[in-house]
């Protein structure tokens, strides 16, 4: 791990990997979307609306996964004081927020025909997912409102770690409380409850979303490192005057 944390080496590896990751993302999306929209059968109860699942479920997974990742990076930064970990957490936040927002919007499109309502405030998973979005926004607000980068990083780490508690609440909300939202049907005891004809498309889409996140994260991490270098160079220039 440590040897990849050197910014220069990281940039070198990222530049080599990025084209391949983009290519894999494009192929996976092409296959996954074709499967999701064309070849998979409509559900016997939900009909064609079940196709929303293929964009909704991976977005929700990524929304949670990215926050976990952010918590992990923050913990690494907290323990080892490594600046690249802070940058990784910082650049992951807006991406995670978008996935979280997508999950809420597509879920709402799905909820209207299935539950008869766009939004249900009494529902534990919807509410906790919305709180997750607020945590993302709060985390980004910390970075925006504190000018000095090292101080902002120190504060943001704590905000991210405090928010990790909510991730568990989101994950288990459907198990703990009676909910409109269905229980877990892919990762559970006794194997997935989804038919194989649908499962492969769902999993392909999930991997495609993850690769997309990886690609976008590498790009924004690259630009974050560049902007730090720019800041350093400016400071040096001011110092030399």
């Amino acid at each position: 791990m440590q040897q990849f944390a050197n910014p220069a080496r990281f940039l070198k590896i990222a530049n080599i990997l990025l084209p391949y990751i983009w290519a894999i993302t494009a192929i996976l999306f092409a296959v996954g979307l074709y499967g999701a929209l064309v070849t998979t059968p409509p559900d016997y109860q939900q009909g064609e609306t079940v196709r929303i699942m293929y964009v909704h479920v991976p977005a929700a997974w990524l929304g949670l996964f990215v926050y976990c990742l952010m918590g992990f990076f923050s913990a690494v930064a907290f323990i080892y004081r490594h600046p690249l970990a802070d940058a990784a957490a910082k650049t992951a936040a807006p991406l995670g927020a978008v996935f979280c927002f997508l999950a809420l919007v597509t879920g709402s499109f799905w909820g209207k025909p299935m539950w008869g309502t766009w939004w249900a405030w009494g529902d534990a998973r919807l509410t906790s997912m919305f709180i997750l979005l607020l945590f993302y926004l709060g985390y980004m607000a910390v970075w925006n409102s504190i000018d000095e980068p090292t101080r902002a990083a120190a504060i943001a780490r704590i905000v991210a770690l405090v928010g990790v508690v909510n991730v568990f609440v989101v994950k288990f909300s459907v198990n703990w409380w009676n909910s409109l939202h269905q229980g877990p049907s892919v990762i559970k005891m006794g194997g997935p409850a989804i038919d194989k004809s649908m499962l492969w498309a769902l999993l392909t889409m999930a991997v495609a979303y993850t690769m997309l996140f990886l690609a976008l994260h590498l790009v924004s991490l690259r630009s974050e490192i560049a902007s730090r270098k720019l800041r350093q160079a400016r400071l040096v220039e001011i110092g030399n005057r």
Binding site: G138, V142, I158
Partner: protein
């Protein structure tokens, strides 16, 4: 260690009593909400008594939030926090003591005053005991979570908006289970499950808050 912590709490209580302001403003806020809601919604007794527990929790929550950004600011600006950070007492205990002092001077009095005010919204009198219990149990969590917001924004000039953005998501569980415990018609097992979860949230914030506050304040003090 306990003695030092108690001395710190006593200092904060004395400061709060002599300066005034915080509690008075928060109480004024709750009172005005309680008076304005019936005017805004109309004098429908049944509707009002249905809304009462939720509205009272909301008023309590927002009034505590109003005081959050000042929790550490003053001590940070006049340098007292630097002294406390250098003292023998672990800094986590310092922040815990300050949060407890905030609870004693602001949240607890508000939690005791608020339920009777519900009578302005034609609250059912039989609901008063459970409201007292749930609000007192929840108010400690409110203070501890407000401390996180206050610590994160201690060194900022205009931290007010950031405090609300950071603390509101933390307050949502307290609000949900507080209201669930307070509204009596919750099913066969009554309000006990929600009350237990509320206590669990309070205990969990008791663990997380001092650590988070200390870490955030240290970033400003360095």
């Amino acid at each position: 260690m306990l003695q030092q912590a108690l001395a710190l709490i006593a200092r904060d209580i004395a400061l709060a009593r002599r300066q005034g302001g915080g509690l008075g403003a928060a109480f004024g806020f709750i009172l005005s909400v309680m008076v304005l809601i019936p005017l805004a919604i109309g004098p429908d007794q049944i509707l009002l008594s249905k809304l009462a527990p939720g509205m009272m929790w909301l008023a309590l929550l927002l009034s505590v939030l109003l005081t959050a950004d000042r929790m550490f600011q003053q001590d940070f600006e006049d340098g007292s926090l630097d002294v406390m950070a250098m003292g023998k007492l672990p800094f986590e205990v310092v922040t815990l003591a300050k949060a407890l002092a905030h609870w004693i001077t602001v949240s607890l009095p508000l939690a005791i005053i608020t339920p009777p005010l519900g009578l302005l919204m034609s609250l059912d009198v039989s609901q008063l005991p459970i409201l007292f219990v749930s609000m007192i149990a929840g108010s400690l969590a409110l203070s501890l979570l407000a401390a996180i917001g206050g610590a994160v924004t201690a060194g900022l000039r205009r931290g007010g908006l950031l405090v609300s953005l950071l603390v509101l998501p933390l307050y949502v569980p307290v609000l949900i289970f507080g209201v669930a415990a307070s509204s009596a018609n919750m099913g066969p097992s009554g309000s006990t499950p929600a009350l237990i979860v509320l206590c669990a949230i309070t205990l969990m914030s008791l663990v997380i808050s001092p650590w988070a506050c200390a870490a955030a304040l240290k970033a400003y003090l360095r």
